[in-house]
């Protein structure tokens, strides 16, 4: 097992390198640059700035320089947020996004699984239909609709929750953004759980468990559930990575100092290093969480041997 994990981590290095390379050259291929504005800069100033950020050197040399700094853990200076390095920006924003994302995915997994199990056990009955219709609505309504709507209802009209402040992550300030982030995930997870649960409940070994004379609770929790959770494990890995790297929409609407907006704003502003930093973070998270999912798979399914 430990050997397997180490080998997977070693295998992640070329993957990360390819991601960094593709992202680097794609960013540079996009028209415009970080210092292009409405007004044309005087040529000598532009030359100075470019020289300061190594932008006057050939692209391959720039890539080499960037990689070299990256190996020492230096993500470089942000091109747009002056006086901040990318490392500092991420270090400031990541805890916020991490806290929001982990809360959202944990709540979504618990509620989604519970709803999915309830729906599966009541297949094709009213409970099932209502849970699944609600889930369909949850999937189809985007966060940029739920976020302002919930803010309006619970924050502005009812006045129960604070609107658009972070307040260092006080519980009251977390509720709205976490809910908005969790809702679509609850929908997806409940549908996934229902689907695999229904399949497992029909399987032969569950029939055996019933024939043994076990209680329905034991049949469901001990025999059906562990099998039904397997497909969920592979979904939760990437979903967690997506949530903890933040969401532009939610961060903008709730005015949260997370890293989700760096990604989009960085790309729009051609803030090369900032975008690269967020991409590397996101890619590493995806790789790590997929690895965790695979290890969990082996724990849940004795047929899977990690070698």
């Amino acid at each position: 097992m430990i050997g397997y994990v180490l080998r997977r981590l070693a295998g992640a290095i070329p993957t990360l390198f390819i991601i960094v390379a593709v992202a680097f050259f794609m960013m540079r291929a996009a028209p415009g640059g970080p210092f292009d504005g409405e007004r044309k800069l005087p040529p000598e100033i532009e030359r100075n700035i470019k020289a300061a950020y190594d932008l006057d050197k050939p692209l391959v040399t720039q890539f080499g320089l960037y990689l070299g700094r990256l190996l020492t853990g230096d993500f470089g200076p942000s091109f747009k947020n002056k006086d901040f390095s990318v490392g500092e920006l991420i270090a400031a924003g990541a805890p916020v996004s991490l806290r929001l994302g982990l809360s959202a995915i944990t709540i979504a997994a618990l509620i989604g699984m519970a709803l999915g199990i309830i729906a599966a056990l009541n297949q094709n009955r009213a409970t099932d239909f209502s849970v699944m219709s609600a889930a369909m609505i949850g999937i189809t309504i985007p966060t940029f609709v739920t976020a302002p709507l919930l803010t309006l209802l619970l924050g502005v009209y009812a006045g129960w929750l604070p609107v658009a402040t972070w307040n260092n992550g006080a519980l009251a300030n977390m509720i709205l953004p976490v809910t908005v982030l969790a809702l679509p995930q609850i929908a997806v997870i409940s549908r996934l759980t229902r689907g695999s649960m229904i399949e497992v409940l029909r399987s032969n070994f569950v029939r055996t468990a019933r024939a043994k004379g076990l209680s329905e609770f034991t049949v469901v929790t001990r025999h059906a559930l562990p099998a039904a959770l397997l497909p969920l494990v592979s979904y939760l890995g990437p979903a967690t990575a997506a949530l903890v790297t933040g969401s532009l929409v939610v961060e903008q609407i709730f005015q949260l100092p997370g890293i989700g907006r760096y990604f989009v704003l960085g790309a729009l502003n051609r803030d090369y290093t900032l975008v690269m930093g967020v991409i590397i973070l996101y890619a590493s998270l995806i790789i790590a969480l997929n690895l965790i999912a695979d290890v969990l798979y082996a724990v849940l399914d004795p047929k899977v041997r990690l070698a």
Partner: protein
């Protein structure tokens, strides 16, 4: 067999609603088991034979209440199982077990063999501690021909024959009175079949088990059963002592089944008269009128289309019954 039978099945019906195309069409019933009655004595093996889709497995599972029954009764040791609620049925499962056709798929892949076999003990004999449970499991594994050293292995590490032994050990651990064997050897290699069949016979002898032995293979059923019940489209065609059925099959369907079973002697097999019944099984959603077998019966006559033949002795004096207007 003068004492009261262990199991009485009385006019049991299992109908599945099949949804029809069209928004307002009512679902039509698929009569998987349609008015089956028989008894099973203590220590007896009753073979249930018939081709795929005739309702054999449905019958076995309906008796154990693993699928809901539509009408009729199943009475086990004087108690009407079909009248019990799900919760009332649970304690009875101690005496009523089942062995499935697909041995590997019937074992929870995430549990060790020891846990699989011990689980019914935890449920029904919670007073046993872990060591006592383990001792019982080891003894039972030994009894069914599995080395107790394999107690911590997972199902996928076993062959089909071994997996079926695990299934048998799991069913036997509570020493039930009746085991429904639902095609227990159909998925197994021919070379393994005899071992499993002999194991079942030994267990029956040692524990006084009653077996309801379901198979599509008449050769297997004849080998293990005291009596044989021939099922066709959910109805009993013939029910007789194995010996009688072999010697003098009276229903044309039974004769066709017997003639389809290969004889392990090439010259006899070549010369044997084969009774072909052609065609496939009619749709159980739309069974033929009168006698359900008439569409494939070489002796079908006018009467067969109008009148359902009752299951009756029809001249036999050995207790065998046949549902045919023109029995041999």
């Amino acid at each position: 067999m003068s004492e009261a039978p262990l199991l009485i099945v009385d006019d049991l019906k299992v109908h599945f609603p099949v949804p029809q195309p069209g928004l307002f069409s009512a679902p039509r019933p698929l009569k998987a088991v349609d008015g089956v009655s028989f008894t099973l004595a203590s220590g007896e093996t009753l073979g249930v034979v018939g081709e795929s889709g005739c309702g054999k497995s449905t019958l076995g599972r309906a008796i154990l209440r693993l699928i809901p029954t539509t009408a009729g009764r199943a009475i086990f040791a004087g108690e009407e199982l079909t009248a019990l609620s799900e919760a009332q049925m649970r304690p009875r499962r101690r005496d009523l077990q089942i062995i499935f056709q697909d041995p590997l798929a019937s074992l929870d892949p995430r549990m060790t063999v020891g846990d699989i076999i011990a689980e019914p003990l935890q449920s029904f004999l919670p007073e046993l501690d872990a060591a006592q449970r383990r001792a019982k499991v080891s003894a039972m594994m030994n009894r069914v021909g599995l080395s107790p050293q394999m107690i911590s292995r997972y199902p996928h590490e076993f062959s089909g024959g071994q997996a079926q032994r695990i299934g048998i050990a799991r069913a036997m651990i509570l020493e039930p009175k009746l085991i429904v064997c639902d095609e227990p050897v159909s998925a197994l290699d021919v070379s393994i079949r005899a071992q499993i069949l002999n194991l079942l016979s030994d267990l029956q002898r040692d524990f006084g088990l009653s077996l309801l032995f379901i198979s599509h293979d008449l050769a297997v059923v004849r080998h293990v059963s005291h009596r044989v019940l021939v099922l066709y489209l959910g109805k009993i065609m013939e029910l007789a002592e194995t010996e009688t059925l072999n010697r003098r099959p009276r229903h044309p369907y039974t004769r066709a089944l017997l003639s389809a079973a290969p004889i392990p002697d090439p010259s006899l097999e070549r010369d044997k008269e084969r009774l072909m019944i052609g065609d496939d099984l009619p749709s159980p959603l739309d069974p033929p009128s009168g006698c359900v077998f008439r569409t494939r019966c070489p002796k079908a006559a006018e009467k067969c289309a109008h009148e359902v033949p009752a299951l009756a002795a029809r001249g036999a004096e050995d207790g065998s019954v046949v549902a045919c207007h023109f029995p041999d």
